[in-house]
């Protein structure tokens, strides 16, 4: 190859907080190398551009599209499909694109409830205002359209075919480097792999000492002074590390916080939440139903904890309340 | 208040014939098969228990032994061979000795030799007395009429005197029985009316022994009734018609026919009983205490000598008849004077009395149960 062709890349955020884009910027000087080595064709948060520009590209013209955020509305879906069509490699970047992420927790309630809470029944809303965003509105005889809010949140892979997954909320900046380098160097792992994570769990990298486990009581972090050298779970502090894929560098436990599971389940585990539930409940140190209930009562909203980053990726995916 | 157990009582009862009572483990089969068991009178199990434990006072106050006729069903059903029927029999013997205030009964049941010696002594004294009277007042060759060796009015007077003594003795003992079981029993509060109302029980039970007929096996009842009626007939003849019976030598059928029937009855029943006891033909005849044998042999002797003097007199052998008469009296007197108050014979009084008192107890219990408790007592009880 006489002249190295510049890498054509696009970045996009779906239903996301923006943290993933910040993670890309957190690569610091490396971003300059990226800018030098690649043509950033589309990156709404950093580069000016319109959807039409992307639509104008030939199919597969992009080498790499990095999509962060979940799919919450029709716009997210349209862009996801667009980027899929235009790029050779589509990466689901970050917990939201990978598993549904924090927005995915919305799956525990219905769309109507969300709208009601946000626009109608809320202390901060002026009384008398009864406006709910509608996909189509007639305004002065003109039809206005806004994206359709979906009934639930989807992972990117529920919508389009995804080539690679980069987990994390947000992914560690090194992982951003790794992905780009892998693409540049053409050293890509098999399709559908999770990049930047191992097959083991966070415990593997965690330096805290681990013993046989038995839990007599659960504590919330403010309730006890923890031993920084001992497994958090053994101290009664919730930590999802044992049910979470490693790769983050044990960021939370090293900061004296229980792992929150953002890297998702390790390979072979279908449902991070139920698997963690199975492990956690098994080590409760009681044979008395009433006592077990008592111990469990110290776990407020276990479901939201267990699926903080992955409810749409769980087996039941969403609330099935009538 | 706890009652003291007396482990020695069981040894004591052995002398009365209760040899197997310790084998009982209170399964209750005996009481289950007994047709006489009713609430308040559960036997043989309960008396056997009291006996094992040696609760003398409780035993003394129980009427249960007198409610049993010893048909033997219980013994045949006992899985341990504890002989409940025989235990009840032994208890009757023991109770007889307890009711007796003289202590003679206890002596007799304890030693058959003492009983035999006493019988021999009384018999010889009687014979001697009558001989003395006969030789001093009459002629050995004359059986009846003027100059008779033993004139019937004299014998008659003697009979009545003896009967009076016996009745007094029996009455004292029966009184003790009443006191032990009813009068002095704090558990029984019998109204006087009950004594009166139930009085009919005495003759009914005495003459029909109908409770015995309620036992599963009827033959013992029939034989017992037969023996008892024969004896009674003879007693009536002797006590009220001695002169007529003794007169002769011609036969006065109007009186003698009863004597013959009674003699045949006595001989048959006694013969059957002796045969049964020696061959142990039936459950209730398997165990024989010495007192049973003495009683039967005495009765046999009395009957035989009575029959003999009658035959001798009718056949004209007056002297031989007089000799037989003396021998007869020498047997009759100890039999009645010793057996009736102090030994087996006593049951002729105690059994009907026991049944009567049982009836009084039932009436007393029914009365206690029918008393409506005041609201106050109900509240406390609940």
């Amino acid at each position: 190859m006489t002249e190295k062709k510049k890498l054509q890349i696009a970045l996009y955020w779906g239903a996301a907080c923006g943290g993933c884009d910040v993670a890309v910027l957190d690569t610091n000087e490396f971003i300059l190398d990226v800018a030098a080595a690649a043509d950033i064709r589309f990156w709404p948060i950093a580069v000016d551009g319109k959807y039409a520009d992307v639509e104008a590209l030939a199919d597969g013209e992009l080498d790499l599209a990095i999509f962060n955020g979940a799919v919450r509305n029709s716009e997210n879906q349209q862009v996801a499909e667009l980027l899929r069509r235009k790029s050779k490699i589509l990466v689901a970047f970050g917990s939201c694109a990978h598993l549904g992420g924090i927005p995915g927790l919305a799956n525990l309630v219905k769309r109507e409830e969300i709208l009601t809470t946000a626009y109608l029944a809320n202390a901060s809303i002026q009384s008398g205002n009864r406006t709910i965003p509608c996909p189509e509105t007639n305004c002065d005889g003109k039809k206005l359209e806004i994206p359709v809010l979906y009934k639930r949140v989807y992972r990117l892979a529920d919508i389009v075919d995804v080539d690679y997954f980069v987990p994390g909320c947000p992914p560690a900046p090194e992982q951003v480097k790794n992905v780009l380098l892998a693409v540049v160097q053409g050293e890509l792992p098999p399709r559908k792999s999770v990049i930047g994570a191992s097959d083991r769990t966070v415990c593997d990298d965690c330096k805290r000492s681990k013993e046989e486990k038995k839990i007599q009581r659960f504590f919330r972090p403010f309730e006890i002074i923890q031993n920084p050298d001992r497994c958090l779970l053994e101290q009664g502090l919730l930590c999802m590390g044992s049910a979470t894929r490693s790769g983050c560098g044990v960021r939370c436990p090293n900061s004296n916080q229980g792992c929150r599971g953002c890297y998702g389940p390790p390979p072979g585990v279908r449902d991070q939440g139920t698997k963690f539930l199975s492990a956690l409940a098994s080590i409760i140190d009681s044979k008395d139903p009433a006592e077990i209930e008592e111990i469990l009562s110290h776990l407020p909203d276990f479901t939201a904890y267990a699926y903080r980053f992955g409810l749409p990726a769980s087996i039941l995916q969403r609330s099935h309340r009538s | 208040m706890a009652i003291r157990v007396n482990p020695k009582l069981i040894d004591d009862l052995e002398r009365y014939g209760a040899e197997d009572v310790q084998k009982c483990y209170h399964c209750g089969n005996c009481s289950a098969v007994c047709t006489h068991v009713e609430p308040g009178f559960v036997f043989p199990r309960k008396p056997m228990r009291l006996l094992q434990m040696g609760l003398e006072q409780r035993l003394e106050s129980s009427l249960e032994p007198w409610l049993c006729y010893y048909c033997g069903q219980c013994s045949s059903q006992c899985p341990r061979g504890a002989e409940p029927g025989e235990t009840m029999m032994s208890l009757r013997r023991w109770l007889t000795s307890r009711y007796d205030f003289t202590g003679i009964s206890r002596l007799f049941y304890g030693s058959w030799k003492a009983e035999v010696a006493a019988i021999a002594l009384v018999g010889l004294l009687t014979a001697f007395g009558f001989l003395l009277y006969g030789f001093s007042h009459g002629n050995l060759r004359i059986y009846d009429g003027p100059g008779a060796f033993l004139p019937s009015p004299v014998v008659h007077r003697f009979d009545w005197t003896m009967a009076a003594v016996l009745v007094v003795l029996l009455a004292i003992n029966a009184g003790r029985m009443w006191w032990f079981t009813t009068g002095g029993n704090p558990r029984i509060r019998a109204p006087f009316s009950a004594y009166l109302l139930q009085l009919y029980m005495l003759p009914v039970q005495f003459f029909t022994q109908k409770r015995y007929a309620e036992c599963q096996s009827k033959r013992p009842w029939f034989l017992h009734l037969w023996l008892m009626l024969s004896y009674l007939t003879m007693l009536v003849l002797i006590m009220f018609f001695l002169r007529v019976v003794q007169a002769g030598p011609q036969i006065r059928w109007s009186a003698h026919v009863f004597g013959y029937l009674a003699s045949v009855g006595l001989l048959g029943a006694v013969g059957y009983a002796i045969y049964g006891r020696s061959k142990k033909t039936e459950i209730h005849l398997r165990h024989s205490h010495e007192s049973d044998w003495i009683f039967l042999l005495m009765l046999l002797g009395v009957t035989l000598t009575g029959v003999l003097q009658h035959i001798l007199h009718r056949s004209g052998a007056a002297m031989a008849a007089n000799v037989a008469y003396v021998v007869h009296l020498g047997l009759v007197v100890p039999m009645l004077s010793l057996e009736v108050p102090f030994s087996k014979w006593a049951h002729l009084a105690y059994r009907p009395l026991g049944m009567y008192l049982a009836q009084v107890h039932r009436a007393a219990t029914a009365r206690a149960a029918s008393v409506v408790p005041s609201p106050e007592t109900v509240r406390i009880a609940s």
């Binding site: 029709s74 879906q77 525990l108 359709v148 979906y150 009934k151 639930r152 989807y154 529920d158 279908r270 449902d271 939440g273 139920t274 698997k275 539930l277 199975s278 956690l280 409940a281 098994s282 409760i284 009681s286 044979k287 139903p289 077990i292 209930e293 469990l296 776990l299 909203d301 276990f302 479901t303 939201a304 267990a306 769980s314 087996i315 039941l316 995916q317 969403r318 609330s319 099935h320 309340r321 009538s322 | -």
Partner: protein
């Protein structure tokens, strides 16, 4: 035709599965709605199995193990006992009705009890109507 629920039963091999067999050998009838999956111990029943069955169209799930204290593996059923309340909490958050998932103890001699449990569960689920989970998950792919 009335609604016939599909019930998946996870039964431990030593007590409950044997108890269900006993219902058979004793010819104790019960509704045909339950399909039994044998595991060696109730402790093997991963809560993931339960949600998986629900997601795949089960109208109800039944979990049976040995009575507490009777486990063939000495304490396996206690582990099942510990997991269940948390699983119920989780299912409640997902909006799954309480009657759809039941855990109970059936010994090898309780054929009659097993039949009664299945009968009762079937009736309750019939009254509840079909589970929405499976159709909703399918529908989510078609209609957003």
């Amino acid at each position: 035709m009335s609604f016939e629920p599909k019930i998946v039963g996870f039964l431990c091999n030593w007590c409950s599965y044997t108890g269900a067999d006993l219902a058979g050998t004793s010819r104790i009838p019960y509704p045909a709605n339950v399909r039994i999956i044998r595991v060696m111990c109730s402790a093997r029943i991963d809560p993931t199995f339960v949600v998986q069955a629900l997601a795949q169209g089960a109208d109800a799930v039944l979990i049976c193990g040995c009575h507490p204290g009777d486990c063939h593996y000495s304490e396996g059923n206690y582990k099942a006992m510990r997991r269940f309340p948390l699983l119920k909490q989780l299912l409640k958050a997902y909006g799954v009705e309480d009657d759809r998932v039941r855990q109970t103890w059936v010994s090898a001699s309780e054929g009659q009890r097993f039949a009664e449990i299945v009968t009762d569960l079937t009736e309750r689920v019939r009254a509840l109507g079909p589970s929405r989970i499976h159709p909703e998950l399918l529908n989510d792919q078609r209609e957003r």
